[in-house]
């Protein structure tokens, strides 16, 4: 029981991170129908930016308060990662709209390889550890020496995720921008005819996705305390799995899918085998795509001739 509660807490934390990344996948797929393969690497880049910003703030500027530093890091990370994602969309994907079907995906794979190796060359191939921060934990219950703990880090991750999702939800459902986004999602050509700036809307979609990925990147760095150039690939695939599981194109689906994947991964590691946790994640991806391609909350895709 204690183990289960502990894994539940860990799983929800991990799931929040996946959910934040998954939103980027699902929004982009919804609006232009492509798998933004480089999104996982954008997440990794954001974690590196967070690392560098954190080091500047703490070692050069001497900001003592970790929470304040993290807040500033979050803002810097979001701004910079938005830039990166905007540039990728503008220069690597936009010229390919209207090209043959696999072209944007191949370009995205190229971009993903490029980003991963760019960070490897620019920052070195080794793991980058940060000094541990926010070590305090709250003991929820304790029996036979096994304590179920909730760390401050986890609370911060939950709070930040919830707050950002609320903001994001407001943007998508209540603002003109969100309306334009949903319009483009339903019918891009019709939206353009009605005066929606489609290119701008798509750019903003990429920027929002990247900003949420940057939050996830900062959280990831804070939670695990280490990041390397290859850390974009597996979390990226898992977040994509989350997006597919929740129903690609559906925003609440992405969050639910993220939490589910996080829970499955931690439970699998706790009760079955930690070595095979990635195998489990990849298998879920394959099984979902083959047997339930519309996901939990998605609409089934209708094939048009």
């Amino acid at each position: 029981m204690e183990i289960f509660v502990q894994q539940l807490i860990n799983g929800l934390t991990l799931g929040s991170i996946y959910g934040l990344i998954a939103i980027g996948y699902t929004m982009v797929f919804g609006i232009i129908g492509m798998v933004n393969f480089a999104h996982g690497d954008v997440f990794m880049v954001s974690a590196f930016v967070a690392l560098i910003a954190f080091l500047i703030l703490t070692t050069w500027l001497g900001i003592g308060s970790v929470v304040l530093a993290l807040l500033i890091v979050l803002v810097i990370g979001m701004i910079f990662t938005s830039f990166v994602s905007w540039a990728i969309e503008r220069y690597a994907y936009r010229p390919l709209r209207g090209s043959f079907r696999l072209a944007p995906l191949i370009s995205a794979i190229g971009m993903s390889i490029f980003l991963m190796n760019f960070v490897q060359v620019a920052q070195g191939p080794r793991n980058k550890p940060v000094p541990p921060m926010l070590q305090e934990v709250i003991v929820l219950m304790e029996r036979d020496g096994y304590a179920v703990t909730l760390s401050y880090k986890q609370i911060i991750i939950w709070l930040v995720t919830a707050a950002l999702l609320a903001c994001f939800w407001f943007v998508v459902t209540k603002t003109a921008l969100g309306r334009a986004q949903r319009a483009c999602e339903q019918d891009r050509r019709m939206a353009a005819l009605l005066g929606v700036d489609v290119d701008r809307t798509i750019s903003i979609t990429f920027i929002i996705g990247a900003a949420l990925a940057a939050v996830a990147g900062t959280m990831y760095l804070m939670y695990y305390g280490v990041v390397s150039f290859s850390d974009g690939f597996v979390p990226g695939v898992k977040a994509f799995t989350a997006a597919v599981l929740g129903g690609i194109g559906s925003l609440p689906g992405a969050v639910i899918g993220g939490l589910l994947i996080g829970l499955i991964e931690t439970m699998w590691s706790a009760y079955f085998s930690i070595d095979y946790k990635d195998v489990a994640a990849f298998s879920i991806l394959a099984i979902t795509l083959i047997f339930l391609p519309q996901g939990i909350l998605g609409r089934p895709e209708v094939e048009k001739v």
Binding site: V35, F80, V84, G110, N117, K128, V279, I290
Partner: protein, 457 residues
């Protein structure tokens, strides 16, 4: 962007300067954190920051220069080209030059070991035959194998290296456990890989495009992770070493009395094995090319290309898409398996490290850069990308410019990724963008790649 009439095609310096400044600012924003700062571990294992302002400045200036070049030279040139009246495209018969070029290339690869020995001596030629000849040919073969799946059938496979792994492990395990010979295990590895191709192809039959790509990626990773974790079977990360090397029809390449050198009365040298391996992989690669060329003329090859162009039309015409897709997967996997068995026999050691997603991506990049569906293009791309980085390793002046620790293979994947994006934007059909149609009326004519749709489903 593009001028409509020749009058307005004049170079606009103010606009070019503005664009260059914008590009510079963008580059500053993009590169400031990751190039401006470097995280380094100090003596106490703590991360500290170092600044690299010079490198950052150089990068920004380079990008501004590229922007200026684009707006002052390339864009006016393209505008002039676009302003020219469009000539009606004459569908030319395939030029005899191409046929001649193919024969010349074939002749060159056949005598390549002789040339290498003649110019570098017996010992010095090993590096050339091994690093250039064999290494490039493995990738040419893998590229041609993947070309069947991606280029002909239009199924984007991101887990191709899994079949390479199946072939390698089949040869390594069967040869070590049962002591079977290379020539028996080579076809067996191919068959096993083809079997896996069907096995993995079967569930993904319903999927197309992006989803298919992601599922094949998942399968590729699953196979690699199982190889890592199932230690009893594959020895995990440590890999399998001491894999039996191929023999010359029963004669081993050793220094013993019954070895190859002794039997043929030659002085012992490891170069003979390298030459032998070179011809084996050359034969395998040519087999791949030959089978592909012949299959394209059979109904199954036509069905692949029809499937690539339009799956729904294909189905309505009564083509069995299930079988068509499965044969493409199986054949592509089989050639991957052959290459894998050869790879294991050549290395003598294999580990899951050799079968990462990056390897799949590299093979895919070769196919994409060369031009999906074009065999000549794939071969050229493999030579340029694999051979190119090997040559860069030996260039002294590069080391003088970039410092003594300069290792071009580090930049290989960086270049591959960048090239994939650039090729998609600039020439989505790859370097060789004309295709020879497999079905034609009266006479064969070269077709521009832009007329080939490739999977507009």
């Amino acid at each position: 962007m593009r001028a409509d009439t020749p009058e307005t095609a004049r170079v606009d310096f103010v606009r070019a300067a503005k664009q260059a400044v914008f590009a510079g600012l963008l580059a500053l924003a993009l590169f400031l954190p990751l190039i401006g700062f470097q995280t380094v571990q100090n003596m106490r294992n703590e991360l500290v920051l170092e600044t690299r302002w010079e490198l950052l400045t150089v990068m920004i200036l380079l990008i501004m220069a590229a922007s200026l070049l684009t707006s002052l030279v390339i864009e006016p040139w393209r505008a002039r080209r676009a302003a020219r009246p469009i000539k009606p495209v004459e569908a030319a018969p395939p030029s005899p030059l191409r046929r001649w070029l193919t024969s010349a290339a074939l002749g060159f690869v056949l005598v390549f070991p002789v040339l290498a020995i003649a110019s570098n001596g017996l010992q010095g030629s090993i590096k050339w035959i091994d690093n250039f000849g064999i290494q490039i040919l493995i990738y040419v073969m893998l590229g041609w194998g993947l070309n069947i799946v991606v280029g002909l059938a239009g199924l984007l496979d991101l887990g191709y290296v899994a079949f390479f792994a199946v072939g390698s492990y089949s040869y390594a395990l069967l040869a070590k456990t049962f002591g079977l010979s290379f020539w028996l295990l080579l076809p067996l590895s191919g068959i096993l890989a083809a079997f896996w191709g069907v096995l993995l192809g079967f569930p993904v039959l319903r999927l197309r495009g992006d989803y298919l790509a992601i599922v094949t990626l998942a399968f590729g990773e699953i196979i690699r992770l199982v190889l890592i974790n199932w230690v009893d079977f594959s020895n995990g990360y440590a890999g399998i070493s001491g894999i039996p090397r191929p023999t010359f029809f029963g004669i081993p390449f050793t220094a013993n009395d019954d070895g190859f050198s002794a039997v043929f009365g030659l002085e012992f040298s490891p170069v003979y094995r390298t030459i032998f391996l070179y011809y084996v992989i050359l034969g395998l690669a040519l087999l791949t090319a030959f089978v592909t060329v012949r299959l394209r003329r059979l109904p199954v090859g036509r069905a692949w290309e029809a499937l690539r162009e339009d799956e729904i039309a294909c189905r309505s015409l009564g083509i069995n898409t299930t079988n068509t897709k499965l044969t493409a997967f199986a054949l592509g996997a089989m050639f991957g398996g052959f290459a894998g068995a050869f790879f294991a026999a050549r290395q003598g050691f294999i580990s899951p490290e050799s079968f990462t997603f990056m390897e799949s991506a590299m093979i895919l990049a070769i196919v994409v850069l060369g031009g999906m569906g074009s065999q000549l293009g794939v071969a050229i791309a493999a030579i340029a990308m694999i051979g190119g980085t090997e040559i860069m390793r030996d260039l002294d002046f590069l080391r003088a410019v970039f410092g003594s620790g300069f290792d071009p293979t580090q930049y290989r994947m960086l270049l591959f990724g960048f090239a994939m994006v650039v090729v998609m934007i600039w020439k989505p059909r790859g370097l060789i963008s004309t295709r020879e149609p497999s079905a034609f009326l009266k006479e064969r004519r070269a077709v521009s790649g832009t007329l080939v749709k490739e999977g507009h489903g």
